[in-house]
């Protein structure tokens, strides 16, 4: 009863809060005021239900307790079960691989293009994951590296007719250089300063691209960028779409492979150590500044490569494709999927790209949902949809059948 009363109060509070913006809409040109009373009832009902749910889940997750910071383990039985049964996992992987390999043959050009976009975002998410997920540095300007790669190819192609395959490594290099340039001054700073500097860097990049007409052709962008070459053969539109799709698919698998290897490498373990505790990791002899710069260079390199692919895929780029929304989108892929988790990022990228594409209703409210999902995820499930599983070792005595540590 007490809870209901509280929720009623909260619902009234939200009606009050949203009243001027949701109920009234002014048309300042014609001096007309539109009253949308219906929205008020939606807000009242929505806030009532949500506040009940919110309270319920908060209590369940144990966050209301003032002293208790306990991230609940949650019900991960299903995930654990899938992980434990290799046959099921392998079967699922084979099915997914078959679908991915065959899809361009039965999907239309449009849908193949959408799939390619989703793959690009998977790779971008995995690239950002190196910076945000593994090293724990919040980067809000990741799209700048993407832009650097895209403009690198577009400009080289426009002025010197450089082809896709030559531009790809150059794009990676340009992205990495941009990453190092950004990282050098700021790695020694606290995490939140880094966030705002990267945000600023992303904006500077976009503003320069928009204003420096002689260099980047300003807001109108660059068109007629050559699609990737295929041994000098001129492919048709459909074949070309499939070709880019397979290219991206290969790139995606390569990235997954590389990120997995990187995670377990020496530098990867250093990243994770820095994320967990920078001071302790430095005490263990890790050069934190250097590891962070490496993380930026590698993460940005991936964004550069994707920029080249993006420019080749759309054959037209302009600064508007590289705004903050894009950075926020890649960040939400990483956050929603599970910071540090490869499987989670793949799942989140597919969800975030494919859902708005196929559910029109969803696309209008896309950013609204992303924003609220970021808040809700941080509060209720900071580990993401598919959490990253920490590699753990157990100590078993050889002659002890119970396997317990003594």
């Amino acid at each position: 009863m007490h809870k209901l009363k509280q929720s009623l109060f909260i619902s009234l509070w939200f009606v009050f809060l949203t009243f001027p913006l949701l109920v009234i809409r002014v048309d300042t040109l014609n001096k007309v005021v539109e009253w949308r009373w219906r929205n008020m009832w939606y807000v009242a009902a929505g806030a009532f239900v949500l506040s009940l749910a919110w309270r319920h889940f908060l209590e369940k997750s144990g966050r209301v307790m003032p002293q208790g910071f306990t991230v609940s383990e949650g019900k991960e039985e299903f995930l654990r079960w899938v992980r434990a049964h290799t046959q099921i996992r392998k079967g699922g992987m084979v099915l997914a691989a078959a679908f991915l390999l065959l899809s361009p043959f039965f999907l239309s050009t449009y849908h193949t293009n959408v799939m390619t976009t989703a793959l690009i975002y998977i790779v971008l998410g995995l690239g950002l994951n190196i910076i945000v997920g593994l090293t724990g540095l919040l980067n809000l300007g990741y799209v700048a590296f993407y832009a650097v790669g895209a403009y690198c190819y577009a400009l080289l192609n426009h002025h010197f007719g450089v082809g896709f395959w030559t531009a790809l490594p150059l794009g990676v290099l340009a992205g990495s250089i941009a990453g190092v340039l950004l990282a050098l001054p700021v790695v020694r700073l606290r995490g939140d300063y880094l966030a705002i500097v990267t945000l600023g860097f992303g904006e500077i990049t976009r503003l320069i691209l928009e204003n420096w007409n002689e260099f980047s052709f300003g807001p109108s962008g660059i068109s007629h960028i050559s699609p990737p070459g295929f041994f000098g053969i001129n492919l048709g539109v459909r074949a070309n779409t499939s070709y880019i799709y397979f290219l991206m698919l290969g790139f995606c698998f390569f990235t997954i492979f590389m990120v997995r290897r990187l995670q377990d490498s020496r530098v990867g373990r250093a990243w994770i150590a820095i994320r967990e505790d920078e001071t302790a990791s430095q005490a263990m002899g890790i050069d934190a500044a250097r590891a962070k710069i490496t993380a930026f260079a590698i993460g940005a390199g991936w964004a550069g490569a994707m920029g080249v692919v993006f420019a080749a895929k759309t054959t037209f780029i302009n600064p508007a494709s590289f705004n903050f929304i894009e950075s926020a989108m890649i960040l939400s892929i990483v956050v929603l999927g599970g910071i540090g988790s490869i499987g989670g990022i793949i799942l989140a990228a597919l969800l975030l790209i494919l859902l708005p594409e196929y559910l029109r209703v969803f696309s209008d409210y896309r950013m609204l949902i992303f924003g609220s999902a970021m808040v809700v995820m941080m509060i209720f499930r900071p580990q993401g949809i598919l959490p990253y599983v920490r590699r753990s070792y157990e100590f078993h005595l050889q002659n002890d059948p119970t396997g317990q540590v003594k």
Binding site: L17, P20, I24, I196, G200, L207, I208, I339
Partner: protein, 300 residues
């Protein structure tokens, strides 16, 4: 000289607004060490609420200073309410969480609020009525600056004085300073830190809304995205002055305002927004603690 004076005044006006927003950042950061990314959005919400209230009131036949006062009061009230709610929803449950969590939550809140206004109202620029009339006592100054500029500079100065008095002399102000110095210790000696945090958010939001209403009347148009750039720049101002320091935020805001204004006037007006970021990066490299900031004890 005329040109210089124009830039000086426009820099001062701009800087005053940055200072108003920066105060919210700096006070919140001082207490809970969080960059409140949603703060710029509160500023935008303030401007939108004022526009809506002013239009509705004008429609019902009110004119003159009554509209200005009502619109500003309601905008400020709502901004405070939004600030309070945002803190309760997005930050309070994350008090004990790792540093990255509230930061991501704040980014999410900022995206949410922008799109909330975008969907509830419009994505276009809305013309904002000039609420500030030319009053007779401004006569001697109007040759030098616009009436809105006079009001912006005077209001900011007045607010700064009030805020200083509040923080220095009242009980709540003392609690805020205590919580900023050491939250746990403040809690031990009986300060209700949660209440202090709520108050800080409300005060910061109110200041941001005042800034929003003032700049909207000065510039004459608003849209849902206006809080984004203003927010980053105000944060730059807060860092420049030394985050956590109230006079620092004001000084940082003014320096940033002048830098932008003079750089746009004498160097290149297309890159006006770039200068703020360049300045931010420079400060962070050269003097990360800011002008009034306390040097942190550095790890070797």
């Amino acid at each position: 000289m005329e040109f210089f004076w124009g830039l000086f005044i426009s820099g001062l006006t701009r800087g005053s607004i940055y200072a108003l927003i920066a105060l919210g950042y700096t006070m919140v950061y001082g207490i809970i060490q969080l960059i409140n990314f949603a703060h710029g959005e509160i500023y935008m919400l303030g401007a939108f609420t004022a526009l809506i209230v002013a239009t509705v009131l004008t429609m019902y036949g009110l004119t003159g200073p009554a509209v200005l006062i009502m619109a500003s009061l309601i905008a400020v009230l709502y901004a405070g309410a939004y600030g309070f709610t945002v803190e309760k929803i997005a930050y309070k449950p994350l008090r004990q969480a790792p540093r990255l969590s509230p930061l991501i939550s704040a980014v999410g809140m900022s995206i949410f609020l922008q799109n909330y206004v975008l969907l509830a109202q419009t994505s276009d620029f809305l013309p904002f009525p000039n609420l500030i009339p030319e009053m007779s006592w401004m006569k001697p100054l109007t040759g030098l600056m616009a009436p809105t500029e006079i009001i912006i500079i005077l209001t900011t100065a007045l607010i700064m004085i009030l805020l200083t008095v509040f923080v220095k002399l009242t009980r709540m102000g003392r609690a805020m300073r205590a919580a900023a110095q050491d939250g746990n210790m403040a809690m031990l000696v009986g300060v209700n830190v949660n209440r202090v945090i709520s108050h800080t958010f409300v005060i910061g939001s109110v200041l941001a809304a005042v800034g929003g209403v003032l700049i909207a009347s000065h510039v004459g148009r608003i849209n849902f995205f206006m809080g984004f750039l203003a927010g980053i720049k105000a944060f730059t101002a807060a860092v420049l002055g030394g985050i956590g320091s109230i006079p620092g935020a004001v000084l940082g805001g003014l320096i940033l305002g002048w830098t932008e204004s003079f750089a746009a006037g004498y160097i290149a007006s297309d890159y006006e927004d770039v200068f703020a970021f360049v300045l931010l990066i420079l400060i962070l490299i050269l003097k990360p603690a800011g002008i009034f900031g306390r040097e942190e004890i550095k790890k070797p």
